[in-house]
């Protein structure tokens, strides 16, 4: 083939490059609706929420000097039921410090939910109007955030946590953040 003809291959090369790039969108497990949080590496939003069942209030002041996970949940949220065994297991094995934020829920419904599926949380704040979730940039429930010792958001997971997410994301994150 002569070099004079080479330019005619450009469209083919461009097509292959585009096809390879676009084929990523067809990869199994790729969900275009999952977006990186705008708050990664930014300070966690400040909040001060009433505690569930008359417990102490939950504010981000409680997170000092600890790697904490914040899980948004609701009793009306079906995927939250699916993730509760994973959360219970993490709590039982004392792998993470987990706080809950009850999103747009009736406190009595939340209590029933926790009685039925277990309560993996150290403490729970009630986000009745959903404003704290919006401050976190949450899309809905369940959603889980990791906050490092300096109070910055380092990780976010949209949707129910699974054992796979724990081994592939949470445990490496804890190692990276130097959990004791």
């Amino acid at each position: 083939m002569s070099w004079r003809r080479a330019p005619y291959l450009l469209p083919l090369i461009a097509f292959v490059a585009l096809a390879v790039y676009l084929s990523r969108g067809l990869a199994p497990g790729y969900n275009p609706e999952l977006l990186p949080s705008a708050l990664i590496d930014k300070p966690a939003p400040s909040f001060d929420l009433a505690g569930l069942k008359g417990e102490a209030r939950l504010s981000n002041q409680a997170f000092a000097d600890e790697i904490v996970f914040v899980n948004f949940f609701a009793s009306w949220c079906v995927p939250c039921r699916a993730e509760s065994p994973v959360l219970m297991d993490l709590a039982r094995r004392d792998v993470i410090v987990l706080y809950g934020i009850d999103y747009k829920d009736k406190p009595e419904d939340a209590e029933k939910f926790l009685q039925q599926y277990g309560d993996p949380y150290r403490r729970i704040g009630v986000d009745e109007n959903g404003r704290t979730a919006i401050d976190f940039g949450a899309y809905g429930v369940p959603e889980t955030y990791a906050i490092d010792r300096t109070g910055r958001i380092r990780w976010r997971h949209v949707g129910p946590l699974t054992a796979d997410v724990v081994t592939k994301e949470i445990l490496p994150l804890l190692r990276e953040l130097g959990a004791s």
Binding site: P7, N129, I134, D135, Y139, G140
Partner: protein, 152 residues
């Protein structure tokens, strides 16, 4: 009566398709409400990602519409109200993405492709041999006519 009802139903349907905004959300001040609607139309609903928050019936879109109206009432400029949302949800929620290094490819690649195509077309046309100038002689013209007749 039935006709009036039908017209009302159609109009309601149109209104519903165009706006998910509920009357209770609207601001009393029409100028502020117009600004809020203009802002809402620029912001993507995070739940139904092909709709603006002004069109979406999702709960989160409702909350954000209310928040934008609150911000405007408190004296925020349009840009400040939009920033309130992008600070939390990122530039992805802007239905019209900003022109910045990360989006140069998005904004300028059509023009680059057009320029490459134009350059290719120009090179191709320049290299093509010029068409013959001499007219066909008698034999060639007969041959041409035969060919054309054969086709029919």
């Amino acid at each position: 009566m039935t006709r009036a009802l039908a017209v009302a139903a159609v109009l309601l349907g149109i209104a519903h398709a165009a706006f998910a905004v509920e009357p209770s959300e609207m601001l009393a001040n029409p100028a502020l409400e117009a600004r809020a609607e203009a802002i809402g139309k620029q912001l993507r609903c995070q739940v139904c990602q092909n709709e603006s928050i002004e069109e979406s019936g999702a709960d989160l879109a409702h909350d954000l519409r209310v928040i934008i109206r609150e911000r405007l009432k408190e004296g925020d400029s349009d840009a400040q109200a939009i920033k309130y949302v992008t600070d939390r949800y990122g530039d992805f929620v802007l239905l019209k993405p900003p022109v910045e290094p990360a989006t140069y490819l998005l904004w300028f690649s059509p023009f680059v492709i057009l320029a490459v195509g134009a350059a290719g077309a120009w090179l191709y046309l320049r290299r093509r041999p010029a068409p013959p100038d001499e007219p066909l002689d008698l034999n060639q013209r007969r041959q041409l006519e035969r060919l054309l007749l054969d086709d029919q």
